[in-house]
């Protein structure tokens, strides 16, 4: 199974709406999102079961993911450099299979953000003060609806409309349904082989 809309092609992603959940902290790495011992499997099917497992155990039921008021949230609010470290797609897969469709944070690690895009998950960056305001608002009223408009790059909540950012290329991929890159890349056809033939290390010196 590939992305959030597996089996369908060219799905445009324009809006995400749902309830929010807040995980505080900066530099949360993918080892923490999904500890390596759960990667010893040949499918992603059960990834969602182990999301933040060690952090949740350490928090003894006090982790936001175990907080009833956040149950069923689809938008996760995070801090700076979220998803740093290992390139494991198991991390966004675990988040997706747990139920998250979008992430709002101060910044995202590059490979993590790329992996999200290839699954049709949205990462929106907001500045620090706005992240803090959004966190406060969600923690105060977890039942409220959070809306992300991909084209406008905005995050709307009871805290107001916040102008965020999604890199141009990514935004285009989401809006035009090109986030599942395989089909797009294959459209180049024979141009791929022509390029390969011009490279001496591929063709032979």
């Amino acid at each position: 199974m590939a992305g959030r809309m597996a089996g369908r092609k060219r799905v445009e992603i324009e809006h995400i709406e749902g309830r929010g959940c807040v995980i505080r902290g900066d530099d949360i790495d993918t080892d923490r999102i999904i500890p390596a011992r759960f990667m010893k499997v040949v499918t992603f099917d059960d990834m969602g079961l182990h999301l933040f497992e060690d952090a949740r155990k350490a928090a003894k039921g006090k982790h936001p993911l175990d907080d009833e008021s956040f149950a069923g949230a689809e938008i996760l609010v995070v801090g700076r450099n979220f998803g740093c470290g290992s390139s494991r797609e198991h991390a966004p897969q675990a988040l997706m299979r747990f139920g998250f469709l979008a992430f709002v944070g101060e910044s995202f690690a590059e490979i993590f953000a790329g992996n999200c895009t290839s699954l049709g998950l949205v990462c929106v960056a907001l500045d620090e003060a706005e992240i803090e305001e959004l966190r406060g608002s969600i923690e105060l009223d977890p039942s409220q609806n959070i809306a992300i408009d991909v084209a406008a790059q905005t995050v709307t909540s009871r805290a107001g409309v916040m102008q965020g950012s999604i890199p141009d290329g990514t935004r285009g991929q989401l809006l035009e349904g090109r986030w599942d890159a395989t089909a797009v890349l294959l459209e180049a056809g024979e141009a791929i082989e022509r390029r390969a033939d011009q490279l001496s290390y591929v063709r032979g010196y």
């Binding site: 490979i111 790329g114 395989t182 390029r195 390969a196 490279l199």
Partner: protein, 469 residues
């Protein structure tokens, strides 16, 4: 053709561009695709679901490293999940007609160790691998990029990636390193200076006298941890050392073809006067043997320094420092030297090559592993292991009380039986000190050079390796 000076990144990018994609991305041809057992099975499954073949099987090479046990590589592995992962890789390689360097091949090892040693890592090439330390291969002047599993599927299907072009930052390390200071210390110092996300959106070009003076293995260590600084790729311009290293390697052409290749490789280096989006300089002489004290690689200090206090941290960093100190349970304000260690791990794609083992063995020769310390040496590849055994390094390590293991990733990420237990503190030559990284959810990691790890193993605590060698 303009003769405007170009940097290596521009040249390689242009040579591999297939077409521009809408939205500002480039479709880039990937010359070499390296595959391992953990991030590929789902990609092969997706490919099968789409009914697509592997487009360039001859440009795809696989090995097994993450899950492989290091006490014995005999099949079937003791862990049925590990056995299943290798079986799946074997099946995928068989069906996809992909070369697999398994233990029986004599070329098995950590994917970023075997690429260079087999001569698969070439100047001016593009390399992708479903592993964030792919930047390692940039040491040869390649654009080498770590990707996720969906992108592994993209490369299997099309031998291409859709990528936004990063900016290029040149990092010049001027002057010479002190004895006892290694490439590992340099990259940690760079990450300390620029931050763990300072490299987001950039490719790093490492340059300057200290980098030019490094041998190829040190350059691999340097490029390896680019990702820890947030940069998806990092590279060093190829020079005569690069060319000498490649001569005679398994996948490198011979005779006249080699000379043709070598002249191409020389031409791919950044031109004098090339432009960069940013330039940063560091002074090599100021770099000390460096150690991490916290929970990400930017949490590092020189061996002569004191563990930071929350009060001394900037407002932006304070919460992170507090969290790290709490997890590590180290004394804020105390010298890092003297911190007791329970485990010593020498290995990984950062520091599991022959020169790393030679440096560590030099230290190991001077004493015995302290009672109560568990010390293991895991060569990065079968070739490294053979070379080390030929030089008698295994005997040196064993005599000093280290365990000598079979090649693999081992305790770098503990997907095999090599793990920390409980709150153990590990002096480690690997690249990540994240919470739980070495297999125990509460385990602690101090990153340092292999020579420093060996010194810590003997002393049972963190010491300055310069006092030992």
């Amino acid at each position: 053709m303009s003769d405007q000076p170009k940097n290596l990144f521009d040249k390689v990018w242009e040579a591999h561009r297939v077409r521009e994609l809408p939205g500002g991305q480039t479709q880039l041809f990937i010359g070499t695709h390296l595959v391992h057992e953990v991030t590929s099975p789902q990609a092969f499954a997706m490919l099968r679901e789409l009914g697509l073949p592997v487009r360039f099987p001859k440009r795809t090479f696989a090995t097994v490293d993450h899950i492989i046990p290091t006490d014995s590589q005999v099949r079937p592995f003791g862990d049925p999940l590990a056995e299943q992962m290798l079986s799946e890789l074997e099946r995928n390689c068989r069906e996809g007609e992909i070369t697999l360097f398994d233990p029986a091949s004599g070329h098995q090892g950590i994917v970023h160790v075997i690429g260079p040693e087999l001569g698969l890592t070439l100047p001016g090439s593009t390399i992708a691998c479903g592993d964030s330390h792919t930047a390692t291969h940039g040491a040869f002047g390649a654009i080498a990029i770590g990707i996720g599993t969906s992108q592994v599927r993209d490369v299997l299907a099309s031998q291409c990636l859709a990528l936004a072009r990063p900016k290029v930052r040149r990092i010049e390390v001027s002057g010479a390193l002190q004895p006892g200071v290694y490439a590992k210390d340099v990259i940690l110092a760079i990450i300390r200076k620029l931050g763990v996300n300072g490299g987001v959106g950039y490719a790093y070009e490492y340059a300057g006298e200290a980098v030019e003076a490094m041998d190829m293995e040190e350059r691999l260590t340097l490029c390896n941890m680019s990702i820890e600084g947030g940069a998806r790729c990092g590279y060093v311009n190829p020079d005569e050392k690069t060319i000498d290293y490649l001569r005679g390697r398994k996948f490198v052409p011979t005779g006249e073809a080699f000379e043709r290749a070598a002249s191409e490789w020389r031409g791919v280096a950044s031109d004098r006067g090339a432009e960069y989006d940013d330039v940063v300089t560091l002074d090599a002489i100021k770099i000390e043997p460096t150690i991490t004290w916290g929970i990400h690689p930017g949490h590092n200090i020189g061996v002569g320094e004191r563990i930071p206090t929350p009060a001394g941290a900037s407002d932006e960093e304070r919460a992170g420092v507090e969290e790290a100190l709490e997890y590590m349970d180290l004394d804020p304000g105390a010298p890092i030297a003297g911190t007791p260690v329970d485990v010593a791990f020498i290995g990984s794609c950062t520091n599991g090559r022959i020169s790393d083992l030679r440096e560590a063995a030099r230290v190991a020769k001077t004493g015995k592993v302290r009672d109560g310390v568990r010390a293991i040496v895991v060569p990065g590849s079968q070739a490294v292991a053979r070379q080390a055994e030929e030089e008698g390094l295994d005997a040196v390590f064993r005599a000093a009380g280290f365990e000598w293991r079979e090649p693999g990733c081992s305790m770098c990420l503990a997907m095999n039986p090599d793990k920390l237990i409980g709150r153990e503190i590990c002096a480690s030559s690997s690249n990540r000190n994240f919470k739980g990284r070495q297999g125990s959810p509460t385990g602690r990691t101090l990153l340092m050079s292999p020579a420093m790890v060996a010194a810590a193993a003997l002393a049972g605590r963190v010491v300055d390796v310069r006092e030992v060698i």
